[in-house]
Each structure stands twice: as structure tokens, then as C-alpha cells.
Symmetry: C2
Subunit: 235 residues, 2 copies
């Protein structure tokens, strides 16, 4: 009996160790994605070609991390057969890394825009993305922080900052449309800025998804498709 | 001993029954999403306001199905502790319904565009989306068919049709940019058509994701981030 208990503890200790290792890898992946996004935006604004190329190249690393973590999650489910909150954590991780990988794709596509040639005028347009980009990077940083601490309160706070990104995005789109109207020759290059703005705005949506997984893990409630105003009810 | 074996069979039979029930729900969800997408496009092209409103309203059903299937998947993992291909099927389902739900969101956003007022000229622009939309609906239909039969060969075939959607999308974007240039006053409404085109193009990417999950389930190999040319190696 004593043997069984200590064996149980041993297995559970080993399990915790494995789970902790997966969590560490998710945070490392998140850190890399945050760096990629910040670098892509820097490459865009400072016209740093080498940096843009590195971001494009490093997207492979993000992809490889996603596949590795995904496999580790499947392995831990098969081997340790977790239930309740342990299982919820693994499921939350499987979903989180999908969104992180897509944010990595956004970084890559912004880096590709950064490799384009811009006239001074177009360069000014790109500057309009700077604050939007910074807010997206900040939101990602904060959601990773909430994930690291599995902090529901922080996740709800981050969730609500997406409103600001949405409003900023809409203002940029209006501004870019006015610009296109005034200078129709600029349309193809303004469109590139539009797609970049759209991609950055989507980072906010992805961060909101991760907030939902944090809340799902901690509270065992699926809050997807809940009205934003009702989200605070989960506190 | 005999008792144990028949109990084992009983549990396994019950498990198969539950797994089969989840699969049936995924196919029902897929059928609803396909209908939503086809209806949204029809509402857009025939300017059917009532149909557009119904699509917007029915997105709730898609969302509810996603949450219910997700919960059933978590329950079956906790209760039945599946391993190997059973576990891969559950993981493939968890991922598939995320993409289906997002295709549902695309249908909703196209339905919202359909509710806008268009001049005859703008209406002609919308017509340029018709073939793209049909191809996206067909791709979704085919990937659901491949999913129903868990047919790797079919999944690979569907995967490769996305190229055609991408080329068609790029031609539409070029055409719309020319249009904006010739008639700058049309920019705001042409932008709506652009976003709709972009959303439809994304349906193709989502269908490709589902192809990858089918291959992952059948072959136990994660083919994400493999070059499209290399995908046929998995046959």
C-alpha cells in the first residue's frame, strides 16, 4: 500500500515535471513570437532589410516549436491520461500554440512588406502603423504574462484592451482610404499597408483567444462566444 | 477472465459509440457551415436581405456546436483515456472544429457585406467574387467528404486545389485595384469587396488545415509546415 502511494507520488511528480516542461516550452515559443513581431515592425519602420530577412527565416523555428509542443501534448495525454484541470491545461496549450503560430505568420508577412521599396510619401503612411503595432506587441506580451501566471484577472484585462486596437485600426483604414482617393497612383502600395494593418489587428483577436483558453483552464468554463461585456462575470 | 474480456469489449463498444457520435456531430457542424457559406454568397449575389440576416443569426448555432463538440472531446479523453489513433482522432476533431467555426465567421462577415447597398456598378464588382466563392464552397464540401471517409488521398487532392483559389483571388485583387484607380469615389465600397475576397480566400487556407488534420489522424504524421510539393510524399 505504501509502495503504491509512493509510486503514485512518483508518477505524479514525473507528470508534473513533464507538464512543467511543456509550459516552459510554450512560454519560450511565446517569447520568440513576441520578438518576431517586434522585429518585423522595427524592420518595417526603420527599413532594416537584414532584420526583415531574419524574421522571415526564423518563422521556421516558430513552426517547429508548435509541432514539437503539439507532439509533447499528445504524448502526455496518451501516457499520463490526465483528467480535470491537468487535462484542461494540456487542451489550453494545444489551442494556445495554434494562435501563437498564426501570430508568427503575421510577423513573417509584415517582414515581407518591410522588404518592399517605399517612397517618402508611402513611408509616412507606414508610420501610421507604428502605434497600432506597439499596442499589439504589448497585448501579446501581457497575455503571455497572464498565461505564465494563469491569472484570470489579468487575462480579462488583456481581453478588453482589444477594443482599443480595433478602434485604432478603423481610424487607420479610414485614413488610408482618404489617401488612396487623393492619390490613386498610390493604391497598390497603400493596399500593402492596409493588409499589414489588418494583420496587426488580427494579432489582437488571437490574443483574445489565448485569454479565453486561460479562463477555460482556470475556471473550467468555456467563455468563447460570450459577449465582451459579460466576460467580467467570470471573475 | 471471461468477464473482464466482455467488460473490455463493452467499454470499447461504448467508447466507439461515443467517438462515432462526436464524428457525426462534426459532420453536422461541417454541413451547417457549408450551408452558411453558400447562403451568404447567394445573399451577396442575389441581394437577398432575409437570407443574409438568417446567416448572421445562425452563426450562433455554429458557435454552440463548436463548444458542445469541444466539451464532448474533453470528456471522452478524461473518461476513456484514448491512446494512439483514437487519441489522434479526438485531437484532429478539436482542431477541425476551430477551423470550421472560423469559416462560419467568414460566412457571417460576407452576409454583413450583403446587407450593404450597392450601385449597379458596384454590383458588377461583387459578381467577380462568384466563381471564387463557388470554388471555396466546393473545397469545403470536398474536405468534409474526405473527413467523413478519413481519406488521405482525397485530402491531398483537396489540399492542392487551394492554389487555384489563390490565383483567382490575386486576379480579383488586381482587378479591384484597377477599378479603384479609375473611379476613386468607389474606394470605400470596393474595399468591402476586397475584404470579402480576402475572407473567401482564407476559407481555402482553413480547408487546407483540415486536410492536414486528416493526414495526421490517418498516418500519425504531422505534415504542417511541409512544402506543398512534398505533401504527395505522404501518400
Amino acid at each position: 500500500m505504501l509502495n503504491n502511494i509512493s509510486l503514485g507520488r512518483h508518477i505524479s511528480g514525473q507528470f508534473n515535471h513533464e507538464l512543467e516542461s511543456i509550459r516552459t516550452h510554450v512560454l519560450a515559443m511565446g517569447g520568440l513570437v513576441e520578438q518576431q513581431l517586434a522585429d518585423a515592425l522595427k524592420a518595417l519602420h526603420k527599413q532594416e532589410e537584414d532584420l526583415a530577412k531574419r524574421v522571415i527565416q526564423d518563422d521556421r523555428k516558430v513552426n517547429a516549436m508548435e509541432v514539437a509542443i503539439d507532439e509533447a501534448c499528445t504524448r502526455i495525454i496518451a501516457k499520463r491520461q490526465p483528467t480535470a484541470s491537468d487535462l484542461r491545461l494540456v487542451i489550453a496549450i494545444i489551442k494556445t500554440i495554434t494562435d501563437l503560430e498564426r501570430i508568427g505568420d503575421v510577423a513573417e508577412s509584415i517582414a515581407k512588406v518591410a522588404l518592399g521599396n517605399f517612397t517618402n510619401k508611402q513611408y509616412n503612411l507606414l508610420a501610421s502603423l507604428e502605434s497600432l503595432g506597439q499596442n499589439a506587441v504589448r497585448m501579446l506580451h501581457e497575455v503571455l504574462d497572464a498565461f505564465a501566471r494563469m491569472d484570470v484577472k489579468a487575462a480579462i484585462d488583456v481581453y478588453q484592451t482589444d477594443d482599443r486596437i480595433d478602434r485604432e485600426y478603423e481610424a487607420i483604414i479610414r485614413q488610408l482610404m482618404t489617401y488612396m482617393k487623393e492619390d490613386p497612383d498610390s493604391i497598390p502600395s497603400v493596399m500593402k499597408v492596409m493588409w499589414a494593418a489588418r494583420s496587426i489587428e488580427r494579432v489582437g483577436d488571437r490574443c483574445q483567444n489565448i485569454c479565453e483558453y486561460i479562463i477555460y483552464f482556470v475556471q473550467g468554463k468555456d467563455i468563447r462566444h460570450t459577449n465582451p461585456e459579460d466576460i467580467t462575470n467570470f471573475l
